[in-house]
């Protein structure tokens, strides 16, 4: 059994092209292939110039994010059977500058990730003698879902606010900020608040829920961002009356 895929892949060579253009490929696929397998086959046997990122082939590394038939997905996570006998477009992740072919420039996200301080922040460290920080299963459950992010950037590709206003810190970075804010070991909410409460922080989010739709790991960033809006508002009111200590 084989599946025929008709692909229009967006190509761009920064040294030769002024603009990206589509190139058509036809691939005979094995039934059980993912779209990534089809692309790998193309590169190995048809067109070695095709550039793209990939690694684990099991939806944990977050490398192979791309627009498949207009939707941001992990190429290793999508079966070729879903697109049998149809012409579909393969493009680099939306809302990012194209480096080359299906490779996007991710520097903007990396910079934003740093700004939200995605690590445990303590006001007072406990000594080694005092023992480890203990956390109950219930305390872990509170934020566990938001730890599952693999930084694949599908949510940024799906977010219309990031498309219209690239200064928006964005779903994944803000979700990670919320992940640390709700970690019982963390004491850094007030410090992260400075970045999050900026106009380009959580307030840019208009709750279209498209980020959660796109997330291949079911992190539900939309939920994190709405919770973050409530937490940020609470912190804002607290600071207003001089009680913003935490």
């Amino acid at each position: 059994m084989s599946v025929q895929l008709e692909l229009d892949i967006l190509r761009y060579d920064p040294e030769k092209d002024g603009e990206p253009h589509y190139q058509a490929y036809s691939v005979s696929c094995q039934d059980e292939w993912m779209v990534l397998d089809a692309i790998n086959h193309l590169k190995d046997h048809v067109d070695t110039t095709l550039s793209y990122r990939w690694s684990c082939h099991m939806a944990v590394c977050g490398s192979c994010g791309m627009m498949i038939d207009g939707k941001p997905k992990l190429a290793c996570n999508v079966s070729v059977r879903d697109y049998a006998n149809r012409k579909i477009r393969i493009e680099p992740l939306a809302n990012f500058p194209i480096e080359r072919d299906l490779v996007v420039v991710q520097d903007d996200f990396m910079e934003k990730l740093k700004r939200v301080k995605p690590y445990i922040i303590r006001k007072e460290e406990t000594t080694v003698e005092e023992g480890e920080y203990k956390q109950s299963p219930a305390e872990l459950k509170k934020f566990k879902q938001f730890t599952l992010c693999i930084n694949c950037l599908c949510c940024y590709a799906a977010c219309p606010q990031y498309a219209l206003m690239p200064e928006f810190i964005g779903p994944a970075a803000l979700t990670l900020a919320h992940r640390y804010n709700t970690d019982s070991r963390d004491q850094g909410l007030a410090e992260r608040h400075k970045e999050i409460s900026k106009p380009e922080g959580v307030w840019e989010c208009s709750f279209t829920d498209t980020c959660s739709d796109a997330c291949p790991k079911h992190v539900d960033p939309a939920s994190a961002l709405q919770q973050l809006k409530i937490a940020t508002t609470t912190q804002w009111y607290k600071e207003l009356i001089g009680m913003g200590g935490k």
């Binding site: 219309p160 409460s197 307030w203 208009s206 809006k229 940020t232 508002t233 804002w236 009111y237």
Partner: protein, 113 residues
């Protein structure tokens, strides 16, 4: 200025959205029935005045009308921005201005009842 207070405007929007979700459908239905003339006793003057005469009724009415206006002002500001109207300062001033005016007016009217 309009951007710095996003926490304030957003919390008014969220409160307004919740309040209007709960009470606007039935209130709109009542207004519609009164307009169609189906139930002559509905929304009668004595009934309405009675409800709004005590301070609790005034508080509820004030909350509903004011929060609804702040909700609409904030959400329409976002919507217009999404439609490509980039004059955020003007839109904010007009929208929040109407909400503020409406808030003051409804308070004033309620105090007269």
């Amino acid at each position: 200025m309009a951007k710095v207070n996003k926490a304030l405007f957003w919390s008014l929007f969220a409160a307004g959205g919740t309040v209007t979700a709960f009470v606007f459908p039935v209130l709109a239905l009542i207004a519609l029935i009164a307009a169609q003339g189906g139930m002559p006793d509905i929304m009668g003057f004595e009934q309405m005045r009675g409800l709004l005469a005590n301070w609790f009724g005034k508080l509820v009415a004030f909350g509903i009308v004011s929060l609804a206006l702040w909700h609409a002002a904030h959400r329409l500001r976002t919507a217009l921005h999404g439609l490509g109207i980039r004059a955020d300062g003007v839109v904010s001033f007009l929208g929040y201005g109407i909400a503020l005016l409406g808030t003051i007016l409804v308070g004033y009217h309620l105090l007269q009842i």
